[in-house]
Symmetry: C2
Subunit: 140 residues, 2 copies
């Protein structure tokens, strides 16, 4: 038995409004949930990108909470990578540059496949990469 897929990846942000604009408008992801002051969530293919305010998620649930989600919350720059084809990476680079977002790094991996890196408004390190950098194909 082994986990079959990543369902949710989480990052922590300083400002939920700013994060919602960036992930929803600049990246074009579909918002599927928002809890004021706590989180905003976006669908990404078969997965979900969770953006949290760590001040809110570090609080333990109430003893009688109906949904006793355990506390978590990190500080500093996290990392998340989206899958993209080589052609999509080229288009994303142009799109980000046009939106005034710096592409911090852009290179080919030794075994083939390209990555570009940029930052969300909270400084998290985001990446677009071809799945083949891990030997994965879109059919895996």
């Amino acid at each position: 038995m082994q986990p079959s897929a990543i369902l949710e990846a989480a990052l922590y942000v300083d400002d939920l409004d700013e994060a919602e604009r960036f992930y929803g408008e600049t990246l074009g992801l579909k918002r599927i949930a928002r809890a004021e002051g706590r989180h905003v969530f976006f669908q990404c293919g078969r997965g979900v990108v969770l953006l949290f305010d760590a001040d809110a998620t570090q609080a333990p649930p109430a003893p009688d909470a109906r949904l006793p989600v355990p506390p978590h919350g990190a500080r500093g720059q996290g990392h998340l990578c989206f899958a993209a084809s080589g052609e999509e990476i080229e288009r994303w680079k142009a799109h980000l540059t046009k939106a005034g977002i710096a592409v911090e790094a852009d290179f080919e991996w030794p075994n083939g496949g390209r990555s570009i890196y940029f930052r969300d408004p909270s400084g998290n390190s985001l990446e677009f990469a071809e799945p083949r950098i891990w030997g994965l194909t879109s059919e895996d």
Copy 2:
């Protein structure tokens, strides 16, 4: 244009050896990379779980680095959720309990679907959840 999938989700750990045992043996994921003192990576379906030592990843790349991966690194308890069917969640709960790992929460979401939560050795909050908690199916 929007990102089509999460390719990599990252967590930060205190001890890479301990993390490798937990994710590789207890969870049964396949290790696909290790850089001593910096990271250990595991394949998870079409994605990759990245476990980093933040002390190493916070250092900027050398000016002439062949692969100038931008710095990142968070402190505190992150969160990651794996997809699982209802039947798999039942089996994971038994498996974790047998391995001496506490299941910190176990509940049904209001719109249907179950989640269980536990911790990795560094205290990151891990979850198994049914994709239908987000209206997703295994065919999405």
